[in-house]
Amino acid sequence: MNAAVFAQQVVETLGAPKQPDTVLARQMQAISLAVHIPIVCFGIAFPAMFLFVEGLYLRTRDKTYKALAKRWSKVSLILFAVGVVTGTILSFEFGLLWPNFMATFGQVFGIAFGLEGISFFVEAIFIAIYVYGWDRLSDRAHFLTGVPVVLSGFAGSFNVIAVNGWMNDPTGFNVVGGKVVDPRPWAALVNSNMWHELIHMYLAGYLVAGFIVAGVYAYAWTQGRRDHYHRTGLVVALSFAALAAPVQIIAGDWAGRTVAERQPVKLAAFEGLQQTTKGAPFSVGGLIEVPHMLSILAFHDPNATVQGLEIVPPRDRPPVTVVRVAFQTMIAIGTGLAALGAWFFLIWLRLRRMPRWPWFYRAVMAAGPLAYVALIAGWVTTEVGRQPWIVYKVMRTEQAVTSSSGLAVGYVVLLLVYAGLGAAVYWLLRRLTRRPATADVR
């Protein structure tokens, strides 16, 4: 069912909000997500990485692999702890910032979070058993306790993404007289946006975590630490990221075409396309205009008609500049990361050695932070591109917000807290890189 079926917007269940600071609420939510999402990336990808290395250990009995897997799993547990608390903030913010959204639609999409809660539980249980179970459980049992961590990480993403997909393409309910009626939670869960968003985010997890971890070992490499341990860390992390990078381009293409079909206004904002155009061009970096490119990207057809922003009144359009810049940023970085991955595989598979050019290692060090920027840019593209709606074409963001006063104070407090959190994580990473990992293995 298409969102256009809803002939009218909903009426706020808790009454129309009186809130002059909706933009602050949006920013608080955005900042909280920007803090939480990179940690989610580690939750998605890191367990698969350390489990892979533990598998190498079980096959070869080489203690270096064990040391690496152990070190990674310990970092993973700390990041998981940070993810637990930053994720809790998000669930609090749903109510603190968007009570009308929750009161109106909680019964439609809430079940996804119920299932996410269960996945999160399983993840918390098994990551603790895995990390505290090193040298305590049998090798085989220990390896097996890592498997639920990987699976529940995927299940958790699945459910959260389902909700985001639903916000962009709401299904599974009717609107009668401004009221949400007849919720069909399972239909809402499996919406048309979910699959491509899930795959796109899941791969992004591998890109962000893989390149950030690889960057740490690339730095060590440039400092002359090129022993078996550091080399393994670099190759494994880089391989995970480099494998994900080209697939991500395909997933991105899929996402773009779905947006073109389901959310034409958002797609128009990607390019800032005002008029509906046949054979629409795409401008790279706002400088070079590639003819027909937007039509190709959106519909795989150079002469396809791309709808412009003009199809809706100005009050229903997203902030175009933000969306456009974010989209271009994501595309540019994504392409660069795929090229870097290809470079690595070419040398590694053809010459069976690591690249020798120092710029390669500098590029890998830059790739982690850049992958994070691309991740956030991607989420800005889809989330700011959804504006002014919180539930696409059904509920406006300003309808959803709290009437509570004091958002400005909360905003400042939250910024300070996150600044402190950032400083703490930076301190931690410095601390960890200074301690030799072989100290962990008896």
Binding site: V82, T88, G95, G110, F113, G133, T402, S403, S404
Partner: protein, 345 residues
């Protein structure tokens, strides 16, 4: 029993589990805070770290569990609670960030100075979070959350006699449970001095918590008369009595150094009071403004919650059982080390 009752049952389960397990982690922070100087408190803090590490994250998820069921099955109640009680809930959220992060990072501290700063943040927020969560429950129970978008008072909805009392009781209960659990952990680790230390703390906290709970009832009588009346009659009264007996039984068991059984009676004491409170509120979810019947989501949603959670519990219960069995058998235990000793080379 209707589907809404089953969902309410899940909420009851979640709050009880969080109060029995999660609040003990906050209580551990309380004992960390009050353990004294680095050298004197090093042994207590070492045990806090060792006991909490493998379980606190899983314990914390019960809070998320409660929120999720609440916003799916009773969305209007969720929106009303979070918009009116935005202040204590925001402060609790901030406290949760500080508590979890500082605790996780303290394990990586390299100097006693770093450990002290992180420990202070962890321990202080461990006291604040249960206070604000307790105050939130007090605000709901005493009828200060009307239906609507921030329709209640920003301050008096949680800064009132019932809320303050509930906050204090939440802090004290956590401290009591933590002392009981850690006395048992210390016994398993064969550290008699710590067994004695936590035993004394458990006995002291048990008495103080009991007195506070009794005072709480008197406060309730003045501040939230209808809740008091329901709590002191019929089924709820029996729950209050069970809770009191559970508390007394726990104190007696701690006295006679049977910590394994004391865990069970302490949990019963907490569970009984949670059940008593929720039943005393019936038929309201936001007394006296919104009944459970008015607040419940549609049939399809409630059915989905019941199916989803029931399916989830099939995975969850054996997983939790596995974790706690490993923990209680001591298989995840690591060498005990006083916190300050790590830094004496």
């Amino acid at each position: 029993m209707s589907l809404a009752d089953v969902c309410l049952g899940f909420i009851l389960l979640g709050i009880t589990a969080y109060a029995v397990l999660g609040s003990a982690d906050f209580g551990a922070g309380f004992w960390d805070l009050t353990a004294g100087g680095a050298r004197r408190g090093g042994r207590i803090r070492g045990m806090v770290e060792r006991s909490m590490s493998p379980v606190w994250e899983a314990n914390h998820v019960w809070l998320i569990f409660v929120l999720v069921i609440l916003w799916t099955a009773f969305p209007v109640a969720f929106g009303s609670i979070f918009s009116t009680l935005s202040l204590p809930l925001f402060l609790a959220a901030i406290g949760i960030i500080f508590r979890g992060t500082a605790f996780a990072l303290r394990g990586q501290a390299a100097t006693i100075k770093e450990a002290r700063v992180l420990g202070a943040v962890f321990a202080l927020s461990s006291v604040l979070v249960p206070f604000f969560l307790g105050a939130t429950i007090g605000g709901v129970a005493s009828g200060r959350v009307p239906v609507g978008n921030a329709a209640g008072d920003l301050v008096t909805s949680w800064w009132n006699p019932t809320s303050v009392m509930a906050g204090l009781v939440a802090v004290l209960t956590g401290a009591f449970l933590a002392a009981v659990y850690m006395a048992g952990d210390s016994q398993r680790a064969e550290l008699p001095d710590l067994v004695r230390a936590f035993r004394a703390r458990a006995l002291g906290a048990g008495v103080v918590t009991g007195v506070a709970a009794a005072v709480g009832l008197i406060v309730l009588r003045g501040d939230a008369r209808s809740l008091y009346d329901s709590l002191t009659s019929g089924f709820c009264l029996s729950m209050v009595i069970v809770s009191g007996l559970g508390g007394l039984g726990t104190i007696a068991l701690v006295w006679s150094e049977r910590y394994g059984l004391a865990r069970v009676t302490a949990a019963v004491a907490v569970a009984a009071i949670v059940v008593g409170w929720l039943v005393a509120q019936k038929p309201y979810i936001l007394p006296p403004h919104l009944t459970i019947d008015q607040a419940k989501a549609s049939h399809a949603t409630l059915a989905a919650v019941v199916i989803g959670v029931a399916a989830g519990l099939v995975i969850l219960v054996p997983s939790l059982w596995f974790l706690y069995r490993l923990v209680l058998q001591g298989r995840l235990d690591h060498e005990y080390e006083p916190l300050d000793q790590r830094f004496r080379l």
